[in-house]
Amino acid sequence: MTISNPGKKPTGRSMRPVGLFISTLCLILFAFGCNPDSDDEQITFDRGPFLENTVQAVILPAYSNFAAQCEALHNATEECIAGEINDQDIASLREVLRLTYLSWQHAALFDFGPAADRALSLTTNTYPTDTAEVIDEISNASWTPGLPATLNSIGLPALDYLLNHAPAEEVADLMNSSPARFDHFKRLIVFLEEESNNVLSAWENGFSSNFISNTGTEEGSSIGMLLNSFNEAYEQGIRKQKLGLPNGIMTFSETPQPQLVEAPFAETWSIELMHEALIGCENFYFGDRVQGDSQQIGLDDYLKSLGNFEYGLGLHNEITGQLSTAKAAVLTMHDPLGQYVVENQEATYEVFAELQALVVLWKVDMMSSLGVLITYQDNDND
């Protein structure tokens, strides 16, 4: 879906009366000699500062944190001495990998522009990983990561497998007895690091400024790409992939699929990653990494600026409440998530319902409300 044609998009909520009301309000102000652009932020929302803040306070930090974590992961492998890797080394690597996985949750929400150009989501986090293929590639000298055929055996899921599939001593032993295995582990990390840097530098070198200056609302506009990407990442990448497929609710047979959880080999990361992804959504929604900082212009300001209506402040309050509810619901589950979805499938359906409620609020109601604003902006030139 796009927001390119707001006139056709009154999904759920009535838009025309609202648009008319705002236009009318504008006319009244104008007729009485007020300048609607002066200080009345109730009805004007400038997309430029919103995009600028989203880039500076949300997107760039997300990519630079992720790239920094990939680099830290690479550095951690350099500290290991091939052939003499011990369980402490493995424990350190695991901790850095966990932080890398967490940082990815924030970057994963922005799968457009430079990330789409590199298929970053696919190269970073295609799961479940094909473990047999991961092993096969160890001895492949001409291995070219990133080609379509390699997507099922690279990225964070492959690293989760190689690092977490057995107790630390055993993982260390395998790496020591097979130098190629350790080398392949490093090759995977180097590729991850390269790709994270490619996307970060594309954002830093040119894409950011173009993105911020493209303040239109038509197909392909920054707002359109951003909101569509966010909604898709939430609906497909978080709600469906992290829970709806593993617990079976989104499959025909409704059979739990424990192997489909994120980071299944670590056994203790899945829920934390899901929770972190919601924090990423929250940061994006509020426009900052410090929740509630009113100086930072986010989607919350978009909604609040509409005023004390069901589709404005009311919707904002609903979203805020549902975010808290969803985060709390996720934390009611216990790792290993793969085991939990099998043993407590019904309980996970309730968690899923809380995640689903955010889809309705963000994708249906919020997009519709934004359509109101966009209609108003367009009418400005009529």
């Binding site: 007729a31 150009d117 590199r118």
Partner: protein, 417 residues
């Protein structure tokens, strides 16, 4: 709502009073000028509808000229009201490619073999019995796609015949129910994310796309831009009907223009109609970002009106627009498919399908007059993309996209198309 509505009316009521003051000034000015001019005789164009209307003139000297009016539809008649538009030959060729495409697509179902000689007979319209839904008399007609492919150039016609032999051979080896197309193995490839499936080569190239979209370029685009709108077909008589005894009420120039139009679309009311196939479809798909459908169709209508008024400079201006906008449409469509291929990068069937489409739209660019992407540039872009769509990298796809966007001035749309 009641109070604000009244306010609007009150606000609007102010406007006329301002206008009145202005009108009063104008009236005074006209009166003053009028008095000053009553004594002399000023010649010029006195028709206020003309583009060179001279308000000071009081005697018409026959110099009036008029802007070419763009009609809403592609409908033109002579002074006696006879229809002067005919592109039946183009309609036949578009229908031939439609029928051929339908036949080609049957091979996407494994176990369906295509017959090479049937495809070649369709291409050359040689001994093939068409379904001919519109009863145009396609069977046995002199019209064909082959002779109109880059003017019947052997290198090109053999290229397309090679694609036809290729798909016939590959299709004959597919087995019902088996989708075993994969890297290194020609066959039907099944999408991992949708129900789509396509017959593709061992390198993931899809013959159906290369033939259908390829002929949109080598036949339709080539004839529009490099034949019918080029000097050879435009520097012709525009003074008398070709043969009014045979219902050919059009001039040679008018007819050539109509033939170009017929290769773009068969609908006189495009883009209200005929947005389901060939250039009409893809121009319409690029409407929102590039305005391809509205710009190309308006230029065709304006240019045709200009020809009927024998305004050849105006005609040439419209030719330039058509050439430029067809190029933007084709390049924009290629870029669109390259972006789709990035989105579906992990899905072999969709990625290969979209890259095959992109390849055909890139190939088409060399057939435009005054193209920004000549044959050498097309080949270098396709070399960059590589032949094997199973081992193409995202960096290759984005590089082709960005270079193509630079060549055609579409950089600002490179990621959004």
């Amino acid at each position: 709502m009641q109070v604000p509505m009244r306010t609007i009316f009150a606000f609007q009521m102010k406007k006329p009073s301002i206008m009145k003051t202005r009108n009063l000034h104008s009236l005074l000015a006209i009166l003053v000028v009028g008095f000053a001019l009553t004594s002399c005789n000023q010649e010029g164009c006195t028709d206020s509808a003309a583009s060179n209307y001279n308000s000071d003139a009081n005697t018409d000297d026959g110099s009036c000229t008029y802007d070419v009016v763009t009609p809403d539809e592609y409908v033109f008649t002579d002074a006696n009201g006879n229809n002067t538009v005919n592109f039946d030959g183009q309609r036949e060729r578009l229908n031939m490619l439609s029928e051929m495409t339908s036949y080609l697509k049957t091979s996407n179902t494994p176990g369906t073999a295509l017959d090479a000689s049937t495809l070649l007979a369709m291409y050359a319209n040689d001994g093939y019995t068409w379904i001919d839904e519109q009863n145009l008399g396609m069977t046995g007609s002199s019209k064909q796609l082959r002779s109109k492919t880059v003017g019947g150039d052997l290198v090109w016609t053999e290229t397309f015949e090679g694609f036809m032999n290729g798909i016939a051979d590959a299709s004959s080896q597919t087995v019902a129910g088996v989708t075993d197309g994969a890297a290194g193995n020609a066959g039907v490839v099944s999408s991992s994310s949708s129900s789509s499936q396509y017959l593709q080569s061992a390198q993931g190239q899809e013959w159906t796309q290369l033939i259908e979209k390829g002929l949109m370029g080598a036949c339709f685009y080539y004839n529009i831009s490099s034949v019918y709108l080029a000097s050879g077909k435009m520097d012709v008589d525009n003074s008398e009907a070709v043969d009014s005894n045979d219902d050919k009420y059009y001039t040679a120039m008018e007819h050539h223009w109509d033939e170009a139009y017929g290769y773009f679309t068969n609908a006189t009311n495009y883009p209200s109609n005929e947005t389901k196939r060939f250039w009409g479809k893809y121009a319409n798909s690029r409407e929102e970002l590039l305005q391809s459908a509205s710009r190309i169709s308006a230029a065709f209508r304006t240019g045709r009106a200009a020809i009927s008024q024998n305004r050849l400079a105006e005609r040439d201006a419209q030719i330039d627009i058509i050439n430029r906008e067809l190029e933007r449409c084709s390049a924009g469509t290629a870029i669109h498919y390259l972006n789709d291929a990035l989105s579906n990068y992990a899905d072999d069937a969709l990625r290969n399908h979209e890259l095959s489409e992109a390849k055909a739209f890139i190939m088409a660019l060399q057939f435009g007059a005054n193209t920004s992407v000549n044959t050498d540039a097309v080949n270098s872009l396709l070399d960059l993309l590589g032949e094997d769509y199973y081992s193409v990298t995202t960096a290759q796809i984005t590089q082709v996209r960005d270079e193509l966007a630079t060549m055609t001035g579409l950089t600002e749309f490179a990621t959004s198309l």
